[in-house]
Symmetry: D2
Subunit: 507 residues, 4 copies
């Protein structure tokens, strides 16, 4: 039931999505070289789940079915699940830069919560449908794309007032057996090499715009879907030490009257629960992003250390180099710590699953979103200008100059010039290439812009509780703690949520 990377790649052959890439129709996604880095990266999420070393992080027991599933498809039930997910995503992204498949996890968890709420409010049947679907996805070990960000059109107008309604995906028609959806999702990660797409709203909608409050699952090759994709990573570029191997594509996905049967429809007009779905997804996803970018930070820390060494330098002796490395570590681990805290102080949903605490999740994502640029800066700082000045890899085999270049481009004599060049190109690829630029923009805007996070922090932080705490201080004399009110037993002071039972001690 758990697939390997090889199984996954083969499974893609069973789908026939309509994909354009650089204006050509892709014959077979599984064999398309320009998509291979993306397929490779997702593949690692399969292989790692089969390795004994990583099994405890990469798989989990699904509570509703009792079955062991890939953690990227698991519904979280405890703080521990969230901590394990963090570690699992970090592990994957240390290996592949961006593992992509955590998007499946994030959407499944949000839907698990939102469908139950919709049922409670409207007497609908979404949660049962969804759990069936979930089990099916887990059983087949699928990878799901998240089709969320609409094209949006004029950002100063709501969906219903757009000149062209297709700038947002919406329900065009309700039929006896299902619904017909139409519109455009502008940024779908990994779309061509997903098995299915989860269509979700990217913003809260008003009652008037309830046709836009739609969530459903469609196979990637459902009739009416067209995917216009960019290549994944930098396939075929000799200098791309990392991103020729692993990468992500993003695509525009056009839904041209796509029919979705009821069993695959999870929200259809319930705009309030659709709104909850959007913010719940945001919490799960921002939490995952934290781990993903920490894995990327690990790559930079490791590569930076190798580059320093190859240059003949040393963090112990060169204070300014050590300082930059410590700053890189501090950035990475401080936003990761927000992910840990969001796990520990997680929010329990009535349906039984947990969601990462919202303030910490948003703070962690906000920090990484802006500090990714500092991470690039620090990686460049410790590496030196060579990373963008080194002749291309073709010259490594140019018989007229290769020998002399090797002789002069070495740093420390016990480290071959070739190794130094390789590390330099890795850092260039990760931070100073098309791929590096892509990573920074996606870190900044993926999962919502910094302004969205700030608003969410503001909305969820107990500011007024703290104002009242100060008012009590002002109104009171000394040693007058008896009449202190408003603090309930068992509530922690800081977050308004309960202090978790201590985790079992490490042994």
């Amino acid at each position: 039931m758990l697939m390997s990377a090889q199984d996954y790649r083969e499974s893609l052959s069973r789908y026939r999505p309509r994909v354009y890439l650089n204006a050509s129709l892709v014959e077979s996604v599984a064999d398309e070289p320009l998509l291979e880095p993306g397929i490779n990266a997702v593949g690692v999420t399969y292989d790692f789940a089969l390795q004994q070393d990583h099994e405890h992080l990469m798989t989990a027991r699904q509570g509703t079915s009792g079955k062991q599933v890939n953690r990227m498809l698991h519904i979280d039930e405890s703080s521990g699940d969230l901590l394990y997910k963090l570690e699992a995503v970090r592990l994957l992204c240390q290996e592949v830069g961006c593992a992509q498949r955590y998007l499946s996890h994030d959407a499944l968890n949000a839907l698990y919560q939102a469908t139950a709420r919709a049922d409670a409010a409207h007497g609908t049947d979404y949660h049962r449908r969804f759990v069936n679907y979930l089990h099916e996805v887990q059983e087949q070990d699928l990878t799901l794309g998240v089709a969320m960000t609409d094209a949006k059109g004029d950002r100063s107008k709501r969906p219903g007032l757009q000149a062209n309604p297709d700038v947002y995906v919406h329900i065009k028609e309700r039929r006896p057996g299902g619904i017909v959806i139409r519109g455009t999702k502008a940024i779908v990660t990994g779309a061509p090499y997903m098995h299915e797409l989860l269509v979700m709203p990217c913003r809260t909608h008003t009652a008037e715009d309830s046709a836009f409050a739609v969530c459903c699952a469609v196979p990637v090759d459902a009739p009416g879907i067209t995917i216009v994709s960019r290549p994944a990573g930098r396939p075929g570029e000799p200098a791309a030490k990392f991103s020729a191997r692993y990468g992500q594509s993003v695509a525009v996905v056009v839904f041209d009257d796509v029919f979705v049967p009821h069993e695959r429809v999870f929200i259809a007009g319930e705009h309030e629960e659709a709104g909850f779905l959007t913010t719940s997804y945001a919490s799960h996803h921002r939490h995952s992003c934290i781990a993903a970018r920490a894995g990327f930070g690990d790559l930079l820390i490791g590569a930076g250390a190798l580059m320093i060494e190859a240059n003949g330098l040393d963090g112990d002796r060169h204070g300014h180099i050590r300082d930059a490395m410590v700053e890189l570590i501090t950035i990475t681990e401080s936003f990761y710590a927000c992910g840990v805290a969001a796990s520990v102080y997680c929010e329990k949903d009535p349906v039984g699953s947990v969601m990462p605490e919202r303030v910490f999740s948003n703070i962690g994502k906000l920090l990484l979103a802006t500090k990714i640029y500092d991470m690039h800066r620090l990686a460049h700082y410790v590496s030196g200008g060579l990373i963008v000045a080194l002749p291309g890899p073709e010259e490594d085999h140019n018989p007229h100059i290769q020998a002399s270049l090797s002789a002069v481009l070495a740093g420390r004599t016990d480290i071959p010039a070739e190794r130094r060049a390789e590390v330099a190109r890795l850092i260039e690829d990760l931070t100073a290439s098309n791929q590096g630029g892509w990573d920074s923009v996606i870190s900044l805007h993926g999962g919502g812009s910094p302004e969205a996070m700030k608003r969410e922090i503001w909305r969820n932080y107990p500011v007024m509780d703290k104002a009242q705490m100060v008012e009590r201080l002002l109104d009171r004399g000394l040693f007058d703690h008896g009449q202190r009110v408003g603090k309930q037993p068992g509530r922690c002071c800081a977050k308004g949520c309960e202090v978790p039972e201590p985790p079992k001690p490490v042994n």
Copy 2:
């Protein structure tokens, strides 16, 4: 056995320390107005332990004795203990600014670890002595001062080479029943109103300087001790809304041939374990500082919210005000998150207790040390210039002008000018007064300077593991995960420590 604040204050009367304050000898510490804010602040750590609301945070069961003790005197045994300590310290510091007594906790925990190590290495008897002492302290519910920072003299020379050896405390003589110590500790928090002082080394020492590797406990009024103290807070100043009530003193403590019996000596020359003690104390203490400053952050957040309101402004409508508040929240909660992560990933000591993970603890302290200045800036930003321009509280009762000032100094009409003035003075007191300045410097340098933290981060971070991880990536082809080595089962990827069992879910 648990004392109240009132009990604590009375207990101080049973000590007769030699204390100078503004060049006068203090008759009775318990009755000295200039020390009262310090005594008040420590008092809250007693009273809160007796309140049902706070009991679960403020007390804990001591494993070695089975008794319920104040958490400020407890030896931590699990991640949960560390999380509870964090919350307890934050709670206290929301109330009093700086609770001081966590220093007792930090030193006791470090000694618990270090004495066992010294015994293991040298066959000494320190751990038994220390546990006896610990139980005595817990039984009597004492407060211990930490006498650590030596006067240091010329910082470019080690202790044994100083012109005047008394710039560091050292063993001057070994006698049959104990040792005689001599020297000066330059910055001892709360010294006059402590029951006992724990003398500890402030740096690692070489074998040649083993006389400086000394740790012991002495009553605050032991013969030979002179304390030269500063006032605690801003006692008696009418504008000091907060720090006339709660504060801390710091003191120079001179040890002029003080005899310490063996049962109170915990390290006496074992310089390696003394070095361990210093860094272990640093980890415990930096972890506590994180919570303390988060409590201070809560005060600023609450006071800022009140000030905004009194000015007739509103974070929902005024984006730049909201932005500043979110930045204040982000700073506070992101360093607090490092404390949470240090708890979750705590390090288990062979003796059975736990220590906060060092990298996260140091990062959290490093962040707060530098960002305290930003916290001041943001509190000022949202409050406006009034906080330093408002006429003094004396004018509130000046019959010639009071009425007209009240009329014109109000902001929003439904909030009295007096309340606005009170909040403004609170913010001035916390951030723009002698007390505010003191807080910022202590946040920066207390528990070690930023450079000390950076070095500790560098020493403890698995940089080479990450370099090897990247080397493996460079040396490998695609999908070649089979031969991946070096990752042991059950180890988490990020920190080289085990992933804790999930904390019990919130309910």
Copy 3:
């Protein structure tokens, strides 16, 4: 005609302002110890103008009269004047922290511009009146306070809609010989020891609120004026190495139906020119603030260097200390550079005077406003915790402990403990005392809040020119520079202003 500090102090005796300080009526401002630091600081602006060393910076030739006047009262006519004013203010503030009298300069320059504009638009006679007044002020070498910041009341309402109209100063009555003004100015620097107050609007007003668009000059002791002042600096505090000597007071000034004869009225209802006056004053003043805070930066740099030395450290050998000092220098000189650039690219007014370029002036002030906190942090960083832990100066003469403290509190053996203590207390006074807190808030909010500066930058920056520049790039092929339009000869590319003639080369 140019007074000395002694003359200035004596001249104050000729005024009888109604001043309350700590709820007492001040008998004689010139003899009030709590105001002495303020009088001292202003005094230096007089003495320096009489010293041969500083004459070229501290005096200038007034174009309209041909007379040599104190530069703090001079109307700027060239980039050079602005550069000299910058240097003069920096020089003064190196000596006294905040020289205050540049406020006179800033208001006089703004009025010189605004009165001419009002006359041009309304046929009024303000400019002549003002020039007469200017010459009188210069002739008598007066110091003028700026009464600008109104009490404001509910900040979400405009003046005319306030429950109490007296929260803004306004024209209550127009009489044949003059006007009657009424209301409250909330933050007036140095009010008690000014000769006259210049009443100015603190915001732009609408036509409906034209009664609030009033500008005039009143003697500090005009009937109806009450000043409620705070002390200047920290007079009488033994630890206040600097601010017992030099300081500033701020005061609330209540105008209770104050009559102003026409010859002293410079705007009376012309709300558009009043608005111009406000922003023009802001440009002049923000430019002056830059120099003032650079002088403060010089104090921190110098004091920091002395402290490092006394601690036995050395920027050449200790990288992290050097780094902090370089950051302090970088902050100081980079905002100062904005002042220089604002001078070079100054804006010529039709009336013949110049105003500092607005974007650079606002950027410089914006930088210092937020970076003053970093300056404090860096000064603390290089100094160590001693600055807030040192026993008070009273202990220096405590015979029981003085000798032993001196012995142990020394750093480098060739620098006496007393000198080290003195420098430590200076840094505490400048950055970690009531005074330091005051300085930071005033740096942040004085001359307008950061948000005000950001809006002014946005309003004045040629964003659309740059957008068009990029549009041209997009619409053009290669080497097609012939049809480039929109760039006029003699215009500089960056600012839309003319490139100045080169300054005469240094010799």
Copy 4:
């Protein structure tokens, strides 16, 4: 005598350098598509000098010859020259991103100073030789490459101790008619399309390493020179809106026993003056970099404004967007201001030319070096994620999807989707592509690393003067300004340099 871009391109055909690019030998540099963006960018420095609009900025009168020359080849004689150079470089870089040719200017100015010093110290004849060469270069309107950064080898060892001496260029042999040089320069901007290369040392050398203290001029096609180049910009990439047109190449240049006749040798072993040359070049060059990156900032500001507009947003109404734009402006103009201040406070050389003031130049470069990453962040922030998610330009002509994409990818309805896409691709090209990554690394390390700048700031700042200023304050009583010493008439307070005569007022 002044060439056009077309003349320049043709002139390149008269050189036959040995250039490898992607492992192929380049037939004709002038016709090589992969180098065309570099040639285009340099070409603009020629064309602009011929346009009436730009003539005043782009040309100047050479004092030693009285002739009008391209400003990129001019020796600066005044503050005004430096201001004009700044504006000229900014203008060019607004057009082409990086104009490259200012490197010629920077090296010529440094040589003008250093050759005179060498002659004064050693009785050599370098200055005459150099002036002849300068006039020749100006007469022919050449472009000179700067071959400075050596390969360096093991960075912990000085040149003479390297295993392979060829990691630094050095004098291998002295012959009657000239010298023979040998070694490798690792990062030479624009090497293939320069007319000549100026070989210069990249660090100070000791007397033992005097063979490495060599400076000379060689034609780019001198026998023995091999250039291994990277492409300039992103030639031929359809998405590269900017860098397919304008770019820079960098190259490794191997000198394999290249003979240089005496008349082209400007330093040959005089290691002290070679050291001066290095730092003088650094000052000139860092000053030029400031202007170059300000021009780049202008491109981002303009493009950001267009993107905001196309998205239907508006800085006036959306505070967070305005805030980001103001931050981008603040960064750009605050480092530019340092360039202006360095011009005003320039240092006069005994030989008659001027050098930008070193502290301001280094601060400006230090700021841009680290803040380029923030500039990228801000450009991304205001633009949204579209810039890296938009399908490639090939899809613009894909008949199967083009129409529907255009319909849904528009933002504001009055701005065509094509224009929005074009702006998005421009921003991607400038900040999130290989080119953007290259720009950031070159901004960080080009002209020396941040640590080099910090050391230069530390070395040149009058720290001790400021320490003495504070000492005087501490040692003095009130109003005791008479005995103030150490300030000389006519010296400015801040920098220890003379206050320049005021620039002529703008009119």
